[in-house]
């Protein structure tokens, strides 16, 4: 009896050793993955609806993020050319304005000074506003002379730019010194808030995706209860039983990401015309960028991970309860 036992244990180890070669292991994974995908396609309507829910949940944060990204690019492209506009008193003559411009150009903080005379300003305004003929009706030019000052690179930061602004405002010739950077900074601050908001929305929707996938997999486990019992009875490991459900979750996540990508692309395509037109009205060549490759990767990878995690949670909770009785 004892000899017999030792022999059989030896026999056992032998069997375990030749159990699976890596090639067979990978091939099995590929096959289970394909089987799971096939199962999804066999219930195509139900699967599509689940994937669509996931897709919409993923499209919302990615679309918003992309929109924000575009706006951020818009503001950052103007960050570099921040300038101050110094509107001069009406009493300052053209000659005085030119003199002042020369004087300011010598300041160490100042890179360049451009003088826009009232006449030039009127012409420019007439062109841009389309009010040319109405302006001609005016008796006198209401526009002041303006000095457009670009600070040297070291004075672009908000604090130093503000110091320069107050110094310029203190000049007797100045009616108003305006920091053109302000709105850019405000926009950036708003974008930061929006970015946080999108992070929160994204986290909540990711949780929703997790729950949707978890619940779908839970139902699938219940539907295949008999099959699980039988396979366990004929020697399936928990890993073997778990695998098709994990792959289902992954497929749901990836399909959802694909649908999200389609939705975002379609949405941006619909927006791109009006946005370009609007940008044109602002003399800008700004146009919406679609999903960059990185973000597409994040979307796909995120979908995959959420699918895996969601199904893992469901499988962990429900599969262990199913044992042959």
């Amino acid at each position: 009896m004892k000899r017999n036992r030792r022999q059989s244990q030896h026999h056992w180890r032998e069997r375990l050793k030749r159990r699976l070669s890596p090639v067979i292991y990978l091939r099995r994974h590929a096959q289970v993955a394909l089987d799971s995908l096939g199962r999804l396609f066999r219930n195509s309507l139900a699967s599509l609806m689940t994937a669509a829910v996931i897709g919409i949940a993923l499209a919302l944060p990615s679309g918003l993020y992309l929109l924000l990204d575009n706006l951020g690019e818009l503001s950052s492209s103007w960050d570099g050319q921040a300038s101050l506009s110094v509107f001069l008193q009406d009493t300052v003559t053209a000659k005085g304005a030119r003199k002042l411009a020369d004087r300011l150009a010598d300041w160490p903080e100042v890179e360049t000074v451009d003088l826009v005379t009232p006449k030039q300003a009127l012409v420019e305004f007439g062109q841009q506003s389309g009010l040319g003929s109405a302006l001609e009706a005016l008796d006198e030019n209401p526009l002041p002379a303006v000095l457009i000052i670009t600070p040297v690179a070291g004075h672009l930061a908000p604090a130093t730019a503000a110091a320069l602004q107050s110094k310029l405002a203190a000049l007797p010739e100045t009616a108003l010194a305006q920091l053109d950077l302000e709105w850019v900074q405000r926009l950036a601050a708003m974008l930061e808030i929006a970015r946080r908001g999108i992070l929160v929305i994204g986290a909540l929707l990711a949780l929703a995706v997790l729950l949707v996938i978890g619940n779908t997999i839970r139902l699938e486990i219940q539907n295949r209860r008999d099959e699980i019992v039988v396979t366990k009875l004929i020697g399936a490991t928990n890993g073997f039983v778990r695998r098709p459900f994990l792959y289902s979750g992954v497929w749901y996540g990836v399909l959802g990401a694909g649908i999200a990508w389609l939705l975002v692309e379609t949405g941006f395509w619909l927006l791109s015309g009006p946005v370009t037109r609007l940008a044109g009205l602002y003399q800008s060549e700004f146009s919406l960028d679609t999903l960059p490759l990185q973000l597409l990767g994040v979307l796909g990878g995120g979908g995959l991970l959420l699918g895996l995690l969601g199904s893992w949670l469901a499988v962990g909770r429900h599969l262990r309860a199913i044992e042959p009785r």
């Binding site: 009896m1 017999n4 036992r5 030792r6 022999q7 059989s8 244990q9 056992w12 069997r15 375990l16 159990r19 699976l20 067979i24 292991y25 091939r27 099995r28 008999d226 099959e227 019992v229 039988v230 396979t231 366990k232 009875l233 004929i234 020697g235 399936a236 490991t237 928990n238 073997f240 044992e323 042959p324 009785r325």
Partner: protein, 223 residues
């Protein structure tokens, strides 16, 4: 092959399904397990299949003490055992071929070998023409034979059958039992739970009789 040493099984709630069972079934032996319903036949098979765990005593399978075996190892033990159920437990969403192939797929056999072995098993049971059929289209006897094909396809050391002829007419029942005899002839240990006394008596194999969870007779050869 199967060795029970003073085995008792008490279910939660205090019901004693089996008490103090001892027997030793040799490798390559074939035996019947009889008794009234509720006598503990199913429980005994479930202990062997590691579906239920022994409450007291020791259980050896193929020389290995499996009394307190870890849950992780159970699947590998089960791969040495072929199960045949009263209601065959086929999976209805796949063909006969895929049903029979399942144990091989689980054990990770290469593709080619799966095809070869499945066809060999189906051939042995006269089901080769049913390869692509779905279980719903099969008669009771055919379905049971598919269940047997699935049980023997990975050449188990031990066949366990729980009322394999419970739903079949006498002729079919005898055919099935004869089949088990054929597997036994090639060295497979076979343990069949059945209450079909008439049929059992026609066949010349040792009988383990259970009554109220106790072994009452142990016929020749099983000791």
């Amino acid at each position: 092959m199967i060795q029970f040493t003073n085995v008792s099984k008490r279910y939660p709630g205090g019901h004693d399904a089996l008490s103090n069972i001892s027997f030793d079934m040799e490798k390559g032996a074939m035996a019947f397990l009889t008794g009234h319903s509720g006598a503990g036949k199913s429980t005994l098979l479930k202990l062997v299949a590691l579906i239920e765990r022994v409450t007291r005593g020791q259980l050896f399978l193929d020389g290995e003490n499996v009394t307190r075996i870890s849950t992780r190892r159970i699947p590998y033990i089960r791969r040495k055992i072929g199960f045949i159920f009263q209601d065959h437990h086929l999976l209805f969403d796949r063909t006969v071929f895929d049903n029979v192939a399942l144990p091989l797929v689980i054990a990770g056999y290469p593709y080619k070998e799966i095809g070869r072995r499945v066809r060999a098993a189906l051939d042995k049971l006269g089901l080769l023409d049913k390869e692509r059929a779905y279980p719903v289209t099969l008669s009771g006897g055919e379905a049971q034979r598919v269940g047997i094909a699935r049980a023997v396809v990975n050449k188990p050391m031990l066949l366990l059958a729980d009322e394999p002829t419970g739903n079949l007419d006498p002729d079919l029942s005898r055919d099935i039992m004869t089949l088990f005899g054929l597997f036994n002839d090639v060295g497979v240990s076979v343990l069949i739970a059945s209450h079909d006394i008439a049929l059992i008596e026609q066949m010349d194999y040792p009988v383990l009789q259970l009554e109220h969870g106790q072994l009452v007779t142990e016929a020749q050869g099983a000791a």
